[in-house]
């Protein structure tokens, strides 16, 4: 596809379009660095301080989910096959129960910071090492390929030099990610998500208006609908044909394998969910995203192809139009100057928002799974923060280099793709079985990854391995005899079977070692997270003023976040004390030190809060989405109503503003 686009490169658009695209880049850079300036700890850098509201995370995930090439790829499928191009966006609900009540509470309450860290705690060190190698190989090369495809798109659409486009995009993304980390990523992706939806909506309406001729949008809608034949109207493709776009293959590859991958092992997405202020907000986010935003996204990314198909039927578009070019062709045809620039800026937004998320994920994997455990164990948090920023710069440089290399050697990316296709199903199955089956053993996790990947890779050379499953579904092989989509089902079955069989013959980890890490022990995880017995009685949130007071906390509990506390005390403790503290923290047994706040006795009654309960204190302006907020622990009550007593350091950590009221909610 990239080759076709490169061959069709030409300059398009007016000066106004170029001005809008440049303004977009400047705006997004400023937006990201502005909102990311509050980043002070690694928890801020990787998880945005774990304080954001569901709608903010949900909207930002639109831009992340609508990734590189989505507009071009799904417009192409919409042009060729009709409305079934929406399939991949509308088959994700089946695994949501596993995520909402399984994986999300496990990783949130166990304070899992990365997928390989889960492997270490649930299985063992060798599984972690294998997971980190797989994920880093995948992510760095995938970012490189995204940079390359983005350069190709910019080159094809605007006629700018391929390498100039790649460098500009990489530099812009790297700057705001290195400065602001996850907070910058979330806020830029919020803006980019809104742009994507708006641009897609505008393109659809203008397309329908174009189809309706003088009759307007309603006539255009009728014209579009009646121009589609029945297969093009249906929401699903043919059951098992054609080989390159059929329902059953896409169901297994995308609806099942990719859904689990997306929800369970996508480090970037996991970090986004962990940036939510609570598990409940994570649940609301997945609900909002899957039920509401994904169907809209399906329309947004496909509509140019749908409109283009109707235009061909109506004689308004050349039937020989290249399907890979249909997005740009239709956009140029129906958009006025300025609007075209806006749509192209949205295309850039889709591409950049994937890169920024993955760049932040690479830094997290390196710091948490390589640097901290193997290179420098017990350094202050500020050291790891600086390392994370350097890794962001170096990782982006490597990815850019790979992107440039891919422009000469596309075979390398194809090999990388085959490697990833082989290792992903076993990795997914290991996480899945680890989270939902207490009997699943470390040996099973390691060998199912190793042998599963080997068998999947072998199926490329021996398609007969996949044939029975393919025949069962009526799937046909490609011209070279291999199977594409249905291999995902084969991979899941093979990895799952190997894992289950080995588990039955090997020794599982003792239950106390995996407490909080599998579904049957989530309540224990919740207790550890709080450091006390959870209290589910709900009260009414209150609005109050913050009063900064050095006496607002008891001396026993420092008014710092846990990481700040660690950074603060690490210079004052003995090496033995430090090792013990790190052991406890790594085993998840160390309840974090939340800043202590004191509420009025009546407010505590209204909130149903008692001393020691967890609270969420945030700026009362809820549209900030938790930007100025902090998790706290309730201390002893005081007499005054609607006043929160808080230590100055906690006030700073929450980036609260003087004279701005806050909203206090009970966490549990």
């Amino acid at each position: 596809m990239t080759g076709t686009l490169l061959a069709q490169a030409q300059a398009r658009g007016t000066t106004l379009d170029y001005v809008i695209i440049i303004a977009y880049f400047v705006g997004i850079l400023g937006f990201g660095t502005f909102f990311g300036r509050t980043t002070r700890t690694t928890r801020d850098f990787f998880f945005g301080g774990q304080r954001f509201s569901w709608w903010l995370i949900g909207f930002s995930m639109v831009a992340t989910g609508v990734g590189s090439y989505s507009f071009i790829k799904y417009s192409q499928k919409g042009f060729e096959y009709g409305m079934s191009s929406s399939m991949t966006y509308m088959n994700d609900w089946f695994f949501v129960p596993f995520f909402m009540f399984g994986w999300l509470p496990i990783i949130y309450f166990a304070r899992v910071r990365s997928i390989p860290e889960y492997f270490q705690r649930r299985f063992d060190g060798r599984s972690r090492l294998m997971a980190v190698i797989i994920l880093l190989t995948y992510l760095i090369a995938y970012i490189g390929y995204n940079i390359y495809t983005l350069g190709v798109a910019a080159h094809a659409v605007l006629g700018v030099n391929l390498y100039t486009a790649m460098v500009v995009i990489t530099v812009a993304t790297t700057i705001y990610v290195a400065v602001g980390g996850q907070t910058a990523v979330i806020f830029t992706d919020l803006a980019q998500g809104a742009m994507l939806l708006l641009a897609g909506g505008v393109l659809l309406l203008l397309g329908l208006d174009h189809l309706g001729m003088d009759g307007g949008i309603v006539a255009g809608l009728r014209s579009w609908w009646t121009s589609l034949d029945l297969p093009a109207r249906l929401p699903f493709a043919g059951f098992a044909r054609p080989e390159d776009f059929n329902f059953v293959g896409i169901f297994w590859q995308d609806g099942i394998a990719s859904s689990i991958t997306f929800l369970f092992i996508n480090q970037g997405l996991i970090m986004r969910f962990l940036a939510a202020k609570s598990v409940n907000d994570g649940r609301k986010c997945i609900l909002f995203n899957t039920v509401f935003l994904l169907p809209i996204s399906a329309v947004v990314v496909s509509c140019a192809g749908w409109v283009g198909r109707a235009m061909v039927a109506r004689g308004q578009l050349d039937p020989d139009t290249s399907s890979t070019q249909v997005f740009v062709t239709v956009a140029e045809l129906v958009c006025h100057p300025g609007v075209f620039g806006f749509v192209l800026a949205a295309l850039c937004a889709a591409l950049m928002s994937t890169i920024d998320t993955l760049t932040n994920a690479v830094a997290a994997l390196f710091v948490y799974d390589i640097y901290q455990p193997y290179i420098k164990k017990h350094a202050p948090d500020r050291h790891y923060l600086a390392t994370a920023r350097w890794v962001t710069l170096v990782g982006s440089g490597i990815s850019l280099g790979l992107g440039i290399y891919f422009s000469f050697k596309q075979d390398l990316y194809r090999t990388h793709g085959e490697f990833i296709a082989a290792v992903t199903p076993p990795l997914v199955m290991s996480v899945f079985l680890g989270a939902f089956w207490k009997r699943y053993t470390p040996a099973a996790a390691f060998w199912s990854m190793f042998l599963g990947a080997a068998l999947i890779y072998a199926s490329k050379f021996f398609p007969a391995l996949v044939k029975p499953i393919a025949d069962l579904h009526g799937s046909e092989p490609a011209q070279d005899g291999t199977y594409s989509y249905i291999t995902a089902l084969f991979g899941l079955l093979v990895a799952g079977t190997i894992g289950i069989v080995i588990s039955l013959f090997t020794k599982p980890k003792p239950l106390h070692e995996i407490a909080g890490l599998w579904i049957g022990s989530i309540d224990l995880g919740r207790r550890r997270f709080k450091g006390a017995e959870p209290d589910f009685q709900r009260g009414r949130p209150i609005k109050a003023a913050i009063r900064v007071s050095p006496d607002g906390t008891t001396p026993a509990t420092p008014s710092l976040t846990f990481e700040e506390y660690v950074a603060h005390v690490s210079d004052q403790e003995t090496p033995e004390q430090r090792d013990r503290r790190h052991e406890l923290a790594e085993s998840g047994q160390n309840p974090p030190e939340y800043p202590l706040v004191r509420l009025g006795v009546q407010d505590m009654y209204r909130l149903h809060v008692k001393e020691g309960d967890l609270l969420f204190v945030g700026d009362a302006r809820r549209w900030l989405g938790g930007l100025r907020s902090l998790h706290c622990r309730a201390g002893k009550s005081h007499a005054e109503g609607n006043v929160v007593l808080m230590h100055a350091e906690a006030f700073r950590a929450g980036t609260f503003l003087p004279d701005r009221p806050v909203r206090v909610e009970k966490f549990f």
Partner: protein, 80 residues
């Protein structure tokens, strides 16, 4: 008379997908990760069932619209 082939994907998606979905519900209820004695968890269980019905409903309406709302042209658009 068999079910027309264009219905197979719908039945497969909500049949096989439905089995996966029900296994998920059984696991989270069986392990009491979703604890029905908590009001909040009852709400979320309702949300999960609603989400399944939401997609099954959207796709069903989509089929009905494709089949019965304004006649479709015998062939439309470019060759795939």
């Amino acid at each position: 008379m068999g079910i027309p082939e264009y219905w197979w994907p719908y039945l497969y998606q909500y049949g096989v997908g439905g089995v996966v979905f029900v296994i998920g519900l059984a696991l989270i209820l069986g392990y009491r990760s979703c604890n029905l004695s908590r009001r909040e968890d009852r709400f979320w269980l309702g949300v999960l069932v609603f989400g399944f019905a939401w997609y099954a409903g959207i796709h069903l309406l989509w089929y009905l619209a494709a089949l019965y709302v304004l006649p479709a042209t015998p062939t439309g658009g470019p060759p795939a």
